[in-house]
């Protein structure tokens, strides 16, 4: 059989096979393999009919060894006894061990899936670190026929996404146990989603960007609707799916028009062809990148493409909301930076005003609309829109080349810090929400400080960080973004940013006030007495994010340093 493939044919008919650069595509491949392994495990061990078949096979294997051994012993046929019996014995022992392993894994299918998932993420982190070292020592490079770029920004975005994935897995584990849903599927979906984001981070071709966008979006739609017990979750999933499909189509149309105008989908080639187009009046190209900006603006939840955000963030299961806020924003901003700052930088006079406008509208809408909300998850959804606005400040000054921390590294730093703050805050919200996530209104937080002082204190920390209070990482993040804008001479947008941050601070303080004032025995607290359960995965997530938010608030140097070295986009 194999000879069919290996036997030589005349050289003229041989096809040159591409070389696979495993280092460049390693992280997504590892995550995807882990997701497949989980699906395989789930289908073999948790299935209906297959499960019985497997039982039979395992029993057969377990007994076949010893039976064969005794048959060999007493039968008239004499074969080489020593070697054969040892092999058969080993096979028997192996089968028994396999059977025991299967029965153990079957009882703990979810735990086994979690182990596979974490192993996958950790291996991906290891490969990412290796990539970082290569990029630092020998510069960024493209591979896979120029479709994948491994540069500082790609590696930084991948790192943030992977950390968010670990938190997502931990929060998801706790949530799945609490709601008694199918476990392995959720973990597999989360890994698939992260796979798409990793591909997006290093996508150097508009087609690859689109495919990655679809991969992680489709997984997110399903995860959003994952909570069968809550109709809000299903509703959110449907809304996200319909609007997301539209935005993907808009993005794709932009890609098509850009291809029409420049003759390529490869970002490096596009950049080269733009040198001939600058100054000309190229309507096709303008419409093309305007549509791409709309499509990506939807994914990062920038106003005025934010309409889906409150509903979806509120309806989605809280671990999914945390992952969405943390990872999706980073991945989509990675693509935004790569396309606009990396590839379209020659046309910056055309796209910068648009991004400038998006930033202002996002900050104002996000901060002001959050004031009138009464649901904490919804408030944080609006605040995530405002945070997208702050990152956009960094994006639109990213093409300025003056001293100090550039816009790109400011945006990347902000994204990394926002991931920590958002995941931490949503982790606390997940715990306070209780089973079926019923308790997320502002009234449910009344008296939380008296009942759960530690949880309330940590949520206060995350909220103050999001407000940008000094000694938290949020302050440093806001500072770098505003400083990048001021360095570029844009005092107006920095001023608007600070004003909107003040407005947003009111929103966060409203939640804090509700926790610390209020009466536990007030009218709107349906859950008196019984304490909240904080299990180990959530405990790890909250304490890690809280520690990092404080650490980067006091000594931000290390992460700033990394972000500063992560600004290289595109290997020419």
């Amino acid at each position: 059989m194999l000879a069919l493939f290996t036997q030589p044919i005349d050289a003229a008919r041989m096809i040159a096979v591409p070389k696979i650069d495993w280092l460049a595509i390693g992280p997504p491949v590892v995550l995807f393999t882990a997701a497949l392994a989980i699906v395989l495990l789930a289908s073999l061990l948790r299935g209906r009919s297959l499960q019985h078949d497997l039982d039979d096979w395992v029993v057969l294997c377990a007994f076949a060894g010893p039976i064969e051994f005794w048959l060999g012993r007493f039968s008239a046929i004499r074969y080489n006894h020593d070697v054969f019996s040892i092999i058969v014995m080993l096979a028997g022992i192996g089968s028994v061990a396999f059977a025991m392993g299967v029965s153990i894994v079957r009882k703990h299918t979810f735990a086994a899936s979690l182990v596979i998932a974490l192993a996958g993420v950790i291996s991906a982190v290891a490969i990412t670190v290796a990539q970082w070292n290569v990029v630092r020592t020998s510069g960024s490079f493209t591979s896979m026929a120029g479709a994948v770029a491994v540069d500082g920004m790609a590696v930084f975005v991948m790192g943030v996404v992977l950390v968010a994935t670990v938190f997502g897995l931990l929060l998801g584990t706790s949530w799945i146990r609490r709601e008694q849903l199918e476990g392995p599927e959720f973990l597999a979906l989360l890994l698939l989603c992260a796979t798409g984001m990793l591909v997006m981070a290093s996508a150097n071709d508009l087609i690859v960007v689109f495919v990655a966008l679809e991969v992680f979006s489709i997984a997110l739609y399903v995860m959003t609707a994952f909570d069968r017990h809550r109709i809000e979750s299903q509703e959110a999933g449907l809304k996200y799916f319909l609007l997301g499909a539209f935005s993907s189509a808009i993005f794709l149309y932009g890609v098509a028009l850009t291809y029409g105008a420049t003759g390529s989908t490869n970002l490096v080639t596009i950049r080269e062809s733009l040198t001939g187009l600058v100054g000309g009046d190229n309507g096709l190209l303008m419409v093309g990148f305007a549509l791409m900006l709309v499509g990506l603006g939807f994914k990062v939840a920038a106003a005025p493409f934010h309409m889906w955000t409150p509903d979806v963030y509120q309806g989605a299961p809280t671990p999914v909301t945390a992952f969405m806020a943390g990872a999706t924003k980073v991945a989509a901003f990675g693509a935004l930076l790569r396309i606009f700052v990396g590839s379209f930088d020659l046309l910056q006079t055309d796209w910068r005003p648009a991004v400038y406008g998006l930033a202002i509208v996002s900050m104002i809408v996000g901060s002001v609309a959050a004031i009138v909300q009464t649901d904490v998850k919804r408030m944080l959804a609006y605040s995530s829109i405002a945070h997208a606005g702050y990152v956009l400040i960094g994006v639109q000054v990213a093409t300025e080349s003056n001293g100090g921390l550039g816009g790109t590294s400011a945006a990347l730093f902000y994204l990394g810090i926002y991931m920590l703050m958002a995941v931490g805050a949503f982790a606390v919200i997940q715990v306070v929400g209780r089973a079926r996530e019923t308790d997320s209104s502002l009234d449910d937080y009344k008296g939380l400080a008296r009942k759960e002082p530690v949880l309330a204190g940590l949520l206060t920390l995350f909220l103050l960080a999001q407000a940008g209070v000094p000694l938290t990482a949020g302050f440093v993040a806001k500072l770098t973004v505003f400083k990048a804008a001021v360095d570029a001479g844009q005092f107006q947008i920095a001023l608007i940013g600070m004003l909107s941050a003040t407005v947003a601070a009111f929103v966060y303080l409203r939640i804090v006030l509700s926790m610390y004032s209020g009466d536990e025995h007030g009218s709107a607290t349906p859950v008196e007495g019984n304490r909240l359960t904080v299990d180990l995965p959530v405990r790890i997530t909250i304490s890690l994010t809280a520690a990092l938010v404080l650490l980067f608030g006091v000594v931000p140097g290390w992460l700033l340093d990394v972000a500063e070295h992560a600004t290289s986009i595109l290997a020419g």
Binding site: R13, M14, I15, V39, A42, E185
Partner: protein, 150 residues
């Protein structure tokens, strides 16, 4: 642009042919309408009532899993044409590709997405009902009512 000229000609030809067919049938055809001829389908049994508008969701499951395997075939045919030219690389690549599609298929089988009709009946008898995605798709599995899937 010259390359596309035959295409334009073809489009024009199609439009002309369709219009000519309609005009010819109006001019040449004899005209004696009756109720059977006015019906949407001229042959077959006259429908008694409007067909049901609700489809079991399983049809969509089958359709979706079909698309996956259909796409697999689309890639397998070209591979078969250049199989020997690609050598071991092609074999490994296509094996990975088929595995990636086979594992979800095994998952489909294991959750019973394709088990309906008599098979679902049998499974229901031998496997105790648990809350899985199948149980949600098929209320008969959770509520213990019978004869719904068949």
């Amino acid at each position: 642009m010259n390359d596309y000229l035959p295409l334009v000609g073809m489009i024009a030809l199609v439009i002309v042919f369709v219009l000519a067919s309609f005009v010819a049938s109006i001019l040449l055809g004899p005209r004696n309408p009756n109720s059977a001829k006015q019906a949407a389908y001229e042959c077959g049994i006259v429908p008694e009532s409007e067909p049901a508008e609700r489809f079991p969701v399983k049809f969509f499951l089958v359709a979706m899993s079909f698309i996956v395997l259909d796409v697999e075939i689309v890639f397998l045919y070209p591979f078969a044409m250049v199989m020997r030219g690609l050598g071991v690389f092609g074999l490994v690549a296509i094996t990975i590709f088929v595995l990636v599609l086979l594992i979800p298929f095994a998952y489909l089988l294991s959750v019973g997405a394709l088990a309906w009709g008599p098979v679902a009946q049998v499974i229901r008898e031998i496997v105790p009902v648990r809350r899985t995605s199948v149980a949600v798709l098929d209320p008969a599995l959770t509520e213990g009512t019978t004869g719904q899937a068949a």
